[in-house]
């Protein structure tokens, strides 16, 4: 049986969790298999490179245009939604957002909430917040349901339970729901269907995320395959949508390229089974749909990223997960290792603005900068470039004043001195030659223990002769110049 990563109990940082994950064969197999398949599906969904690149460019421009008018578009969205009968709420922090959501539920004297998939609600830790106040908040996406049932967090933003295999799910259902164990995935899904259908019927409130909020028409667009999103937004008498404020687009037509990019990049599907466009609550003559629809617009650090023209590009993200699927680090360590809501490359560039760099100091450097994430990003976020920027912000001295929330967490005077010394050494010919002379002659004196490097490698020992030296001799012997 595989070793589970006890996310909630881990006190260590990224490095400690990575070490546990790397030693977990089952976990690595589960991720490797899933990521290989998702990469292939994406590639198959974009057979024409020219079409793909044209669409990515359009996607990038569409998001950049929306961001360049973001405050106006948010006001337009609010006005349109209000006209349509939707109540709009603004929250600077996750605490405020939770208070708003709880307030709406309390006003209806609700105690049962079903949730469609929403990463923003994960950001808010809404389930815990509501549970502490006596409100049951049940995940209804199959993957999210499985993860919640096991007291875990999602390990992938599109495939939350990707770290589990069918035997693990079967055991979980057996233990928690008292059903027979089965290896049949169809049967496992039917168990989930039956259990959750009752919950949809009984729920007082449905909560969902939003994929695109359209300012022009005052419409919330959600994509999904299961139908739980439609259930959560249609069956209960109240629907609360929670979203990050970057999800707004200007016009209805803007979703055409973004929708195509999203579903093809995420799952290799030309489109999801359902595209659910909600423009208001139940009208007087209608027979179903919620009587109240609310939208909670959450900032949670996004305006901080927005203030920096380079970091603003993180807000282009449409949450497809392609960067994770293609990341050699993510594939090996899995989503839980990141210890935050958004894992993988995109997590590394959005999380610091939410929780501060001091809480995720190892994230910007947990990358080989291979560039795969940037290459596949459907809205062309230059993720490697932003990771480099975060590395710089991470080591800024207090005097230099980091521009990212709680930057400078990894600043060390000692390290700064070493680098200064290194720079001087390499930019002065006299010093450099002197150093070379010394390093080759006294090579045996180099330390055997050089920090983390020697935990997994042998200590570096300078060669007897320098490359310069050897090259000079080689050229002299062969008579070349």
């Amino acid at each position: 049986m595989s070793q589970r990563i006890p996310v909630t109990e881990l006190t260590g940082g990224f490095r400690d969790r990575a070490e546990i994950a790397l030693a977990d064969g089952q976990l690595r197999t589960n991720f490797r298999t899933a990521m290989d398949s998702l990469m292939k599906k994406r590639a198959d969904a974009f057979p024409d490179e020219e079409e793909r690149e044209g669409l990515r460019e359009l996607g990038n421009r569409t998001k950049a245009r929306a961001l360049s008018r973001l405050p106006d578009l948010l006001e337009q969205l609010e006005a349109k939604l209000t006209d349509n009968g939707v109540k709009v709420h603004w929250a600077e922090t996750t605490e405020q957002a939770n208070e708003i959501v709880h307030g709406i539920i309390r006003a209806r004297q609700g105690s049962r909430v079903v949730k469609g998939k929403s990463m923003v609600s994960e950001e808010m830790e809404m389930n815990d917040y509501l549970a502490e106040r006596g409100v049951e908040c049940l995940e209804s996406d199959m993957g999210e349901y499985i993860v919640q049932l096991d007291g875990e967090k999602p390990s992938h933003i599109i495939m939350p339970a990707i770290h589990k295999n069918r035997r693990q799910v079967s055991k979980l259902f057996h233990d928690k729901l008292g059903v027979e164990e089965t290896d049949d995935v169809n049967e496992l899904i039917q168990i989930g269907r039956r259990t959750l259908r009752r919950k949809f019927m009984e729920a007082d409130v449905g909560v969902s995320g939003v994929n695109f909020a359209i300012a022009e028409t005052g419409t919330l667009l959600l994509v999904e395959n299961e139908g739980n999103g439609r259930m959560s937004t249609t069956a209960p008498p109240v629907h609360i949508a929670v979203t990050g404020l970057e999800k707004v687009v200007e016009n209805l037509r803007d979703v055409v390229p973004l929708l195509s990019l999203l579903t093809r990049s995420a799952l290799g599907q030309p489109i999801t089974t359902y595209v659910n466009m909600i423009s208001g609550p139940r009208k007087a003559d209608e027979l179903d749909g919620p009587e109240e629809v609310h939208l909670v617009l959450l900032d949670n650090g996004r305006s901080g990223a927005f203030a920096d023209a380079q970091m603003r590009q993180t807000l282009n993200c449409i949450r497809c997960g392609a960067c994770m699927n293609h990341c050699p680090v993510y594939t090996r360590v899995g989503g839980h290792t990141y210890g935050e809501v958004y894992p993988g490359p995109i997590g590394k560039i959005v999380t610091p603005h939410m929780v501060g760099l001091h809480q995720v100091p190892d994230h910007p450097s947990a990358s080989s900068l291979c560039g795969a994430c940037g290459d596949v990003c459907p809205v062309k976020i230059p993720i490697p470039e932003l990771l480099q920027r975060l590395r710089q912000e991470n080591v800024k001295s207090p005097a230099e004043g980091a521009k990212v929330k709680d930057g400078g967490a990894k600043y060390s005077r000692k390290e700064r001195l070493v680098w200064r010394f290194w720079r001087t050494l390499n930019s002065s010919p006299v010093l450099y030659r002197l150093f070379l002379w010394g390093a080759t002659r006294f090579r045996k004196l180099t330390p055997k223990n050089v920090g983390p490097w020697t935990e997994n490698h042998t200590a570096p020992v300078p060669a007897k002769r320098s490359l310069h030296d050897l090259a000079r001799e080689h050229l002299a012997r062969n008579g070349g110049q």
Partner: protein, 223 residues
Amino acid sequence: MSARSNILNKLRSGLAGSIPRPDDFDERLVTEPWQYAPEDRIMRLRNLMEAVHTEIHQVSSDNWPEKVAAILAKRDLGNLLHAPATDHGQQLAEYLQQSDSSVQLLAYDRPVEEWKEELFWEVDASITGTVGAIAATGSLVLWPDRHEPRLMSLLPPLHIALLRASEIEDNLYAMMQRQNWSAGLPTNLLLVSGPSKTADIEQVLAYGAHGPKELVVLILEDA
């Protein structure tokens, strides 16, 4: 200061000195790769939808009720939710009456609250119209209203959808333009591209997650 004004102020100061980007939306990028000759549209739609387990029949616009009866009989289903106030609802009811069908016709004629238990658990199948379909992605466009409410195409395990062959558009952009969606959308507009599905366990595809387990599309050709 309210959260609203704090957020808007922060965003506005972030934009200080910058100008909005021009709207250079290039519609060719989302239309040109997705254009089909009229005779190919149905084929494209069929191929995509059948690939995700949708059952499709091309029938004539006057004898399709016969097909519906056959679909129900094959599955041995007892009841069917229909919309009696629509033309297609009437056409179907008349046919089933004449043919002495044992299928019980149900109507969504009261608010969901009044028959939630029955609607959630006891309806075998439903039949609704569509306002068209999109060839590029293999998607039906549903425009729920008072007669065919939102849950009608979601709760029953079998959903039968009627589609007029002449209402299939090439791509989503063309559909939006043709029907002028930005001038006014219904409470809930839906694109439906197959039966409900999930791949959340080991990426194994399973149908009938929360919505219909089966989707049957009847493409009506003019008689």
